[in-house]
Symmetry: C2
């Protein structure tokens, strides 16, 4: 497989654990706990009876559920509930709603914005035990499953039937599909298969008061009334607990090839992108950008050699997938033409799995290589193509007198999604304040998005205003209040807390 970010995320976590020490609960001392009920002995008995002792977690084991993936924040919950069925979720929420107990919904807990861990003592409702595949239709490619299924397990399952999941993530070995929907996960296949908003056909969700909303449509077309499923996709568990999912899986592509290309300027990158989009509109499945700093970091810190001239300013990885292997021939022609016209300076093409894997490794290892410097400030933003790279030299300039190891830009150029990374020896307040909120203001001025794929969660709620108008935020609050009037589901998330 060309896509294998799985181990990478695990490595990054260890590095972050070691270095990412600045984030403690003290940072959030301005926050006040909502006036929710506290779980008492009677409540514990109710939950235990409902779920059985094995699916009611308390004591030391709760710790890992309280901490986010990067161990950057931690809540103080004492209880984890692991329902196995929608009916159990319904009973839990009905009970909590009546008792006014706040609930933190948690899938694989792989999010990067603190959306899946409690902030205070919210009861954690983990979907981990809801991990059954309900059905797979080989004709339509529609998979129906419970929310707690791990993405990689679903990938393996549908692969054995000749299909692929329509999205792929670095955290696939741990993340759960319910959480993927709740955060509207993007990832590596978006340019080909589109967003989850297009792929998800239906879902079942339990509302705050325990009512089961069944929108588990398995049809491609259904225009009967409001499309309620979209309320839940990307609402980060604040409007309901997603319990079941129906998703459209595409057939496995028959042929894949990957090219690795060097270019001398970002203008040429855009020219080349335009050319590739035109020539391979039906086959393009990835168009990833890496700048020279990123490539040098991988060469120096990981020891992976650049397969072409390693001294160029920009590199691009192009993946094509198609029904026939004629694409190998077509991409050769396209690259020769681009070389002749001096759009690109160097290139190599692979169509064998092991060679493809090697080319992907360079792109995959960028985050890890940067972490080897010590600490990394990470920004996941969407920008218009024309302005995509401008922020990188801009930030370099702002930081030139500070002790910075690397400022680099890479990411899903095809989707306009830039990963701006600043590597330093360790976390430093002066460097942080030279970047933030500047990078968000800049993104906002370009009409970009301050969170391309990670969501808002807890950590980015104060930056929501940079990508959303007051009226949008007001309407979001109205919806929240209509659907969860007691605000028991994932409180303190998405909406800025300081103005509440």
């Amino acid at each position: 497989m060309a896509f294998n970010f799985f181990n990478l995320r695990k490595l990054s976590t260890k590095a972050a654990l070691f270095k990412n020490v600045q984030l403690t609960k003290d940072r959030f001392s301005y926050l006040k706990r909502g006036s929710y009920g506290t779980v008492d002995f009677t409540d514990v008995e109710y939950f235990k009876n409902l779920l059985g002792v094995n699916n009611f977690i308390t004591g030391e084991e709760v710790k890992s559920y309280n901490e986010d993936w990067l161990k950057s924040i931690s809540g103080f919950s004492k209880y984890v509930l692991k329902p196995k069925t929608t009916e159990q979720v319904s009973k839990i929420l009905k009970y909590c709603y009546k008792r006014n107990i706040a609930v933190c919904v948690q899938g694989g807990n792989t999010g990067l914005v603190g959306g899946s861990v409690p902030v205070f003592d919210e009861v954690i409702l983990s979907t981990s035990a809801m991990n059954s595949i309900i059905s797979f239709n080989k004709l339509s490619g529609v998979l129906v499953c419970q929310a707690g299924c791990v993405l990689e397990n679903l990938m393996n399952y549908v692969q054995s039937e000749g299909f692929v999941m329509p999205f792929d993530l670095g955290a696939k070995g741990t993340c759960q599909i319910g959480g993927n929907l709740a955060t509207n996960a993007g990832g590596l296949r978006l340019i080909k298969y589109g967003s989850l908003q297009g792929s998800v056909l239906g879902l079942q969700a339990v509302l705050a008061d325990g009512q089961i909303l069944d929108c588990l449509n398995t049809l491609k077309k259904d225009n009967t009334g409001y499309h309620l499923k979209h309320l839940f996709i990307g609402s980060e568990g604040t409007l309901g607990v997603i319990t079941k999912i129906a998703i459209q899986c595409p057939n496995t592509p028959k042929f894949v090839n990957v090219s690795f290309i060097g270019l001398e300027s970002f203008d040429k990158v855009l020219s080349f992108f335009s050319l590739v989009r035109k020539e391979f509109s039906a086959s393009l499945s990835s168009f990833e950008l890496m700048d020279s700093v990123a490539i040098k970091s991988v060469q120096k810190n990981i020891g992976i050699k650049c397969p072409i001239n390693g001294d160029l300013k920009f590199y691009v990885l192009v993946e094509l997938s198609a029904d026939n292997n004629y694409i190998s021939h077509s991409i050769q022609n396209c690259l020769e033409k681009a070389l002749d016209e001096e759009i690109i300076l160097d290139a190599t093409v692979a169509d064998q799995p092991s060679l493809i894997q090697n080319l992907w490794k360079i792109r995959e290892n960028i985050p890890e290589s940067l972490l080897r410097y010590g600490y990394v400030y990470k920004y996941d933003i969407t920008l218009p193509h024309e302005l995509f790279y401008d922020i990188v030299p801009e930030i370099r300039k702002r930081l030139e007198k500070l002790d910075v190891k690397a400022v680099c830009g890479y990411g899903h150029l095809g989707d306009g999604n830039l990963h701006l990374n600043v590597a330093t020896l360790e976390h430093n307040v002066e460097i942080a304040s030279a970047i933030e909120p500047y990078v968000y203001e800049w993104t906002s001025k370009c009409k970009g998005s301050v969170s391309a794929e990670h969501g808002i969660g807890f950590l980015k709620s104060k930056y929501l205003k940079y990508s959303k108008t007051n009226l949008e935020i007001d309407l979001m609050k109205k919806l929240k209040n209509t659907i969860d009037p007691k605000n028991i589901l994932n409180p303190y998330k998405i909406f800025p807390q300081d103005d509440n």
Copy 2:
């Protein structure tokens, strides 16, 4: 172009005008006008001053805005407002909200469920004068335009830049993109480009109270808070007036070919579908089914000859589009294999535009050919593939003792969308009641959708319950009440009126 349903819809309208006589305002005598304000002299002056006399329509000219495309229902509005800008829409709604004047939002008025015409005297807000293309980004393929742009004009515009619109409809010569979004239009390219929910990147909408909600995102990825645009896509003008749209356009496919195939049973159709999906997962752009009754109707009533053996039970049209012409070779191989294995019985392939057009004409002329019998009962439903055709013989059986000219099934098998048509000499109450609500009950039992792509509008509101649960309808009503508390936008639509 292979897709050209435009003239067809015009022909059908004339035929419907002639025969479709049963639908009068008397049918809706149970309805009560809401307690809205009535437009008075002061209001008229306000609207005239705001819009200018040319964009404030009254008198005889209003008639065509009161009647739906099929002339099946008609409202009694006296005034049509044609704002040119979002700001004018905002002022109109702010005024109407204050005065409690009901508003019917109208795009191209090509809907088939009476959603775009007034029911009583609602003021008609037509988006026709909001027809500017705002921008097109050749790099990203993102088109931004006003809501009143006619789909075909947008198609021509982006085509000249090497792109296509991600959807296509029979009514493209008249329908407007704002209406397409409001009704979540499906159409002929869905199997390839997905639904509008995936293609639409952003929109601007004016809320009932006149506030302008700007979600006009032009980025592929933006995970900052709830995805509000989805509230408006498919809500049929009941939650806000869509004024601007940002939509992702794919590049024009470089090569297209079309095959026309004959088969002996529906089981073989499904086997063939499975084969084609597997072989051409990246190239498949249409998979259309036609039964023998449909083909015979086209042959007999329109005089188009079937290009292969015309006496088979089922026919399929397969369109492929790809980056290279190797697909012509691949489909030949695939068809030969399917012939050898007796999955299919006969086939022809075309890759020249005029020949492609000829094959499409057979599929395109089915609706018109059926109308030549006199009257047609039309059902647009989605069904699971396994049950896709079962309803057709079932309905034939129910109607065998009645005076019916043809019962046939055709449509977008690739998307599970069946057009079930019953042709008779004229409208007949006995025949109608033998089909309805039976067909909806049947669809509901199969977990199908009673409206695959046409929406609910006014005419189908009483059937909403067949595809939506009580809780879904309740939540829809709550959303409506939250966003348009005075219910001034498109009243009497979507929600069943008898229980209000």
